[in-house]
């Protein structure tokens, strides 16, 4: 089912343009209540293609969950249009839900069902063939690393494993084309988080489109083809990780540690560097200086001078996190230096 729209975004020479799975046009959402109205999404446009992963970053209350709940057909938009595989989710919810899955931000699976039962029943509701359900569920449990837990009741599982059950439930959808993940790895340990990343990454091969929200910038850096930053209900930046990084007016950063035990010579050197490189931020005994070109000989020489005085420092390109913080306004305190 082609959406028929123009293709933009990640289509590059080395990667053919894929069809658009999710399209969001002019989406706005205002929560109305007696205690006052609150606009959580304002004029959002987005597209996610088959086999593409888009990460949505934004501070608490930016409107990420609101956006995902509208796409999943749980919340009605105030204005705008959402199509999934060309199907309008507001007007034709059931066929659209046939091809989407979601992991809500906060959701407890049923305490008194086993892991296997969860996956099996939800798969059947999502249109899995009852005749072949056994091997289908077995494969899913293996793939999500839950095979050993298949007969355990959900109430006996740790929080991270419960989250993984929801991932398995979301993937238990034979016609899946769009996966919505609202903070999929919150509360998941670092090792298991990487396992989830691999799982999500592997969905590209099945040409599933993924829209995920996260507070772990690393997660976006690892997984996302494109990143959208949302703040106060608006998309304030969108593009590849590199493109977002390039929005900063500097390409590098010099991070200096151990500010609390500098020698007078070290202090003097740092004062000199701070006159040349603006201070990005200072927290505890660490500070970050903005460097226009981290690969320039001058920057390397400065790093060497710090090292010569025994000061722990590192020089490198700006991270997505630097760009993110600058975009969502926490960076404003940075601007002041």
């Amino acid at each position: 089912m082609a959406s028929g729209g123009p293709l933009r975004g990640t289509a590059t020479a080395d990667r053919p343009a894929e069809e658009t799975v999710l399209r969001v046009d002019g989406l706005s959402k205002t929560y109305r209540s007696r205690r006052g109205d609150r606009t959580a999404n304002a004029g959002i446009d987005l597209e996610v293609r088959a086999g593409e992963i888009l990460a949505l970053l934004g501070p608490n209350g930016a409107g990420k969950t609101t956006l995902l709940r509208q796409i999943a057909g749980q919340l009605l938009p105030s204005a705008g249009r959402i199509t999934i595989g060309g199907i309008d989710i507001v007007r034709h919810p059931i066929p659209a839900k046939e091809i989407l899955s979601v992991i809500p931000q906060e959701c407890e699976p049923k305490a008194n069902l086993t892991v296997e039962e969860h996956v099996r029943y939800f798969a059947l509701l999502k249109g899995a063939d009852p005749a072949g359900i056994r091997p289908y569920v077995d494969a899913l449990l293996t793939r999500t690393g839950l095979a050993a837990e298949r007969n355990r009741l959900v109430r006996e599982l740790s929080g991270g494993l419960r989250r993984r059950v929801l991932i398995a439930v979301a993937l238990a959808a034979p016609n899946l084309r769009l996966l919505l993940l609202d903070e999929p790895t919150t509360g998941v340990d670092p090792e298991a988080r990487r396992a989830v990343w691999q799982l999500v990454d592997a969905l590209r091969a099945e040409r599933i489109a993924v829209l995920l929200t996260t507070h772990y910038i690393e997660e976006a850096e690892y997984l996302a083809d494109r990143v959208a930053v949302i703040d106060h209900g608006r998309i304030v930046a969108e593009g590849s990780v590199d493109a977002i990084r390039q929005r900063l007016d500097h390409a590098g950063r010099l991070e200096v540690r151990g500010l609390d035990h500098l020698t007078p010579a070290g202090r003097a050197l740092l004062d000199e560097l701070e006159r040349r490189y603006p201070v990005g931020f200072r927290a505890g005994n660490t500070e970050r200086l903005r460097v226009a070109d981290p690969f320039s000989p001058a920057a390397s020489a400065d790093l060497a001078r710090l090292a010569a005085l025994g000061i722990v420092a590192s020089l490198g390109p700006v991270s997505l996190e630097d760009a993110y913080l600058a975009l969502v306004g926490n960076g404003r305190s940075e601007e002041g230096g």
Binding site: I94, E108, L124, K126
Partner: protein, 249 residues
């Protein structure tokens, strides 16, 4: 657009199996108790109620039990799903809200039916109440219609509630009102004239009337009552299918 009826029936069967398994695992003891509880009623009935009214009051009480259990259980299940946010997961499935509601409500129906059968059997066998065995299938059909006619009440309490505690409290209050205003222990004509037409807006008034008519062999009254209950079931199905609060506004 709605999925085909066949698809919905298959989905209902899945939801029912899933929730039945879950509920029996969670509530095994209380469900066993629910089944035998109405038998205790027979002791009171034998002492407090005039002999010629006993079977009517018995059948009426079984009906109330079933209706209240249905309303409470449905409202509380929805409240629980909203609390755990599993409701969001259900809404994101390609199912009609009718499938979710019928599946959720149907879980306790077998227990209510078994309970009704046991109570009727004990009433007839041990207490010698006059209930003809031939009326039992019709009584069960009537009870299922009563179940369907109260489904929307549980759904609306559940989806409009904000917390499990509030939903539970609302279900209790509404259950109490239903009990008081349902002419199980008295005929509708005993109500003040003003309340009599209002009483006919309650599905349970029709339920009581239908079940008593089945006992009495009053075919025409039973049929009218059955149709009234079926109208309620239809209205609820239409209301639920339109999904108020299924998708949040």
């Amino acid at each position: 657009m709605s999925p085909g009826v066949g698809r919905s029936v298959a989905q209902f069967a899945v939801v029912f199996r899933m929730l039945f398994k879950e509920t029996t695992r969670e509530l095994a003891i209380i469900l066993g108790f629910t089944i035998v509880f109405p038998v205790g009623l027979l002791f009171f009935l034998n002492h407090l109620v005039a002999p010629d009214l006993r079977s009517q009051v018995l059948v009426g009480t079984i009906m109330l039990e079933m209706a209240l259990l249905n309303i409470n259980a449905l409202a509380q299940s929805i409240g629980q799903d909203k609390q755990t946010r599993e409701f969001d997961l259900w809404v994101s499935l390609p199912i009609s809200p009718v499938v979710y509601v019928l599946g959720t409500a149907a879980v306790l129906l077998p227990f209510s039916i078994v309970s009704a059968l046991i109570t009727l059997a004990v009433a007839v066998g041990a207490f010698g109440l006059a209930i003809a065995w031939t009326t039992v299938p019709l009584l069960l059909l009537g009870l299922v219609l009563v179940w369907g006619s109260t489904m929307g009440i549980g759904y609306l309490i559940g989806v409009f509630g904000t917390s499990p505690r509030q939903i539970s409290a609302n279900a209790q209050i509404i259950g109490l009102i239903l009990t008081l205003f349902t002419p199980v222990f008295y005929p509708v004509s005993a109500l003040p004239a003003l309340l009599q037409p209002v009483a006919y807006l309650w599905p349970l008034t029709w339920g009581a009337q239908t079940l008593v008519a089945i006992l009495d062999g009053a075919t025409r009254t039973a049929l009218v009552g059955g149709i009234a209950l079926a109208v309620y079931v239809t209205i609820w199905l239409v209301v639920i299918a339109r999904g108020p609060r299924w998708r949040e506004a």
